[in-house]
Amino acid sequence: MTTMAMNAAIRSAIDVMMERDDNVVVFGEDIGYFGGVFRCTEGLQAKYGSERVFDAPIAEGGIVGAAVGMGAYGLRPVIEIQFADYVYPGLDQLISEAARLRYRSSAEFTAPLTVRMPCGGGIHGGQTHSQSPESLFTHVCGLITVIPSNPYDAKGLLIASIEDDDPVIFLEPKRLYNGPFDGHHDKPVVPWAGHPLGEVPDGYYRVELGSAAIRRPGDDLTVLAYGTMVYVAEAAAEETGIDAEIIDLRTLLPLDTDTIEASVAKTGRCVIVHEATRTSGFGAELSATVQELCFYHLEAPIERVTGWDTPYPHAQEWDYFPGPARVGAAYRRVIAA
């Protein structure tokens, strides 16, 4: 066990997998000699050589497309999109190719890629360094979508993603690289050291895809969250004194509906929190699913607390970011309803 920040845990996962499997190769913009703009691949080129860890041209479509070809050959590419905001030129290769190659060839060819990308706001990145496009991926059958909220999960989920034989979108809430963040941007930054989930085994272990974690058991209401919002949800529980059961989804697709259903059946109330824009965000799917599974248990309308339906603004970041005040207000409304 070592204390690791989340980017270090990600690096460790790749390291472990490169060591175990010669077919794992890593590439992306600035990820080679330099080690990536968030340092997630630091030292890997020196360790494994530039044939397995290398810089790519600035062409997200090319990066994903080349990875699909490598996957069909038999490699396990782990690629980085520098920011999730820049994944769009690569979407065609993800949606039309990676996600459907197994299906359309009846498993003659597959695309076992892992596509890592930092997502979310909180670093004053403005509209092109803050987006959370997860819901787009969850609409594409054939893709798996994962989003960790802490170093321990990040490593275990990333190992499971790299080992998975289907294409995995691996979203990394960038505001969590260096510490948990609950939305109180005016308070000092808390590092991962000291947080129990900052304790990370050095070697190989898996956190299985498709299983959620209950971060805080509670009886008053169920909160469905992932990534940075897990900490915001915790802060809101503490600040409102409401006994929320907070579920960290970890994998958005496939979704752990058993854990969700059991919790909402118990609490009868549900708040969904995400940073992405509201309309057709993943919260919509969660809300629809919860009401399908738990209609007769629900005692209050399900609420969604999300980013507003505007581009992510730069100067008004903290008015946009769904912080503990907004989440807490939703808790209160749902409890009062």
Partner: protein, 412 residues
């Protein structure tokens, strides 16, 4: 200063529309044998001229001439001819099946048979080809069973793709034929990625990708060239310039301003421009590019000049946008006729033998069609089971798909 002149917007127009006379004056046809053949080690900067010339081996009399004559056993030539004839026969039979409603859709490659056939026979068995929907010649040349092909076209019970794909979107790993995508161009960069992987592993296998000239406009064409040059990937990047992209002529893809082969120059990749209706030129150019790739000399771009003689697909009617008889004026002729004449000129073949071949191939295709139809067609509904559509979305079926499959069965 030239100022104040009103700007003009110019849209390239094809030389002839329906009712007009076909006009191929824009195609310059140099004599066979006139293009030089550099050593494969030559620096790309020393062979830019080849992107503008035209490699041709067979002249109008059917004799082979010049530095690009490939060494080939007569048997190999015969096999190529047979595969081309079979491809055309197969196309005609499947077109008929589509008219009969046995399949929803079909696409022929009439007039372009030499390219996929020659490419298939020249590359190694273990190489990987990233094809277009007009490369059925590859499968036929490599003797992938006609019945397999037809079962896919009929979407029937024996279709290995379980009716999931549209007709002609074959996948045949055993013969190095990558699963066809319906999205244009996407596989060009995948071919480069596959080749990069082969190089990473110190393997000896190379990749080849193909696109139409219309598809060169897609982003993935550029992605392929960039990655191929940066990593010097062992790949052949083929552009089949058959003059048309559905109703759109090659000028709309930028072909009036430059050759498509020349796209490679700016990436420092050597490019060959080749008579795609000349079977010997196809073999020779493929061989040259494959040798470069195998010798760690990097990628090659090849533009194959040809003409799409048939409709784009069974959904298309080309007489709406081009002279109905344009094909007859195409200056590079018919690849089957040209190879046939060459074999006859060599004394290895005769009109009679050719008639026998055609009859023989006809019978074989017909027998295969009967066999394939015995497993059903789209018309009679003997297709893969409904519930099979939930398989292979993922390696292991996740719970939500299991639920949906159950629901489908419950609601029947």
């Amino acid at each position: 200063m030239i100022e104040g002149v009103p700007l003009r917007f110019r849209i390239p127009e094809p030389p002839a529309r329906p009712g007009e006379r076909a006009d191929f004056s824009y195609i310059v046809v140099p004599p066979a044998g006139s293009a030089r053949r550099p050593e494969i080690e030559t620096d790309p900067s020393e062979m830019r001229d080849l992107a503008y010339s035209l490699i041709r081996v067979l002249d109008d009399d059917g004799s082979a001439t010049g530095p690009w004559i490939p060494e080939l056993e007569p048997d190999a030539l015969y096999h190529g001819l047979r595969a081309m004839v079979m491809t055309r026969t197969y196309d005609d039979r499947m077109l008929m099946a589509q008219r009969q409603g046995k399949t929803s859709f079909y696409m022929r490659c009439t007039g372009e048979e030499a390219i996929a056939v020659g490419h298939a026979l020249e590359l190694d068995r273990d190489d990987m080809f990233f094809p277009t929907y007009r490369n059925q010649g590859w499968l036929i040349a490599r003797r992938w069973p006609l019945v397999e092909m037809m079962c896919q076209v009929f979407s029937n019970e024996k279709d290995r793709l379980h009716g999931r794909q549209m007709p002609i979107m074959y996948s045949a790993r055993e013969v190095g034929f990558f699963s066809i995508s319906g999205n244009l161009g996407t596989q060009f960069i995948q071919a480069v990625g596959w080749a990069m992987a082969s190089a990473i592993k110190g393997d000896t296998r190379i990749a080849s990708g193909m696109v139409g000239e219309g598809t060169t406009a897609e982003a993935d064409f550029h992605n392929a060239l960039t990655f191929a040059t940066t990593y010097q990937a062992p790949v052949i990047l083929n552009i089949v310039n058959n003059q048309w992209a559905i109703s759109t002529f090659q000028g709309i893809a930028g072909g009036n301003q430059s050759t498509f082969a020349a796209r490679a120059i700016g990436h420092g990749i050597p490019a060959l421009r080749v008579d795609g209706n000349d079977y010997l030129a196809v073999i020779a150019a493929t061989r040259w590019a494959a040798q470069r790739a195998r010798a760690n000399l990097g990628p090659t771009v090849i533009e194959w000049l040809t003409y799409r003689a048939a409709a784009h697909s069974t959904s298309d009617d080309p007489s709406r946008y081009r002279p109905a008889d344009e094909w007859k004026s195409w200056p590079l002729g018919d690849p089957i006729e040209r190879l046939k004449n060459h074999l006859i000129a060599r004394g290895d073949w005769s009109e009679e033998q050719h008639r026998d071949l055609v009859a023989d191939v006809d019978r074989e295709v017909l027998a295969a069609a009967r066999d394939a139809e015995s497993y059903g067609t789209l018309l009679d509904g003997r297709v893969a089971s409904a519930k099979s559509i939930f398989e292979d979305v993922y390696k292991d079926m996740p719970p939500h798909l299991q639920r949906q499959r159950r629901q489908m069965e419950d609601e029947r």
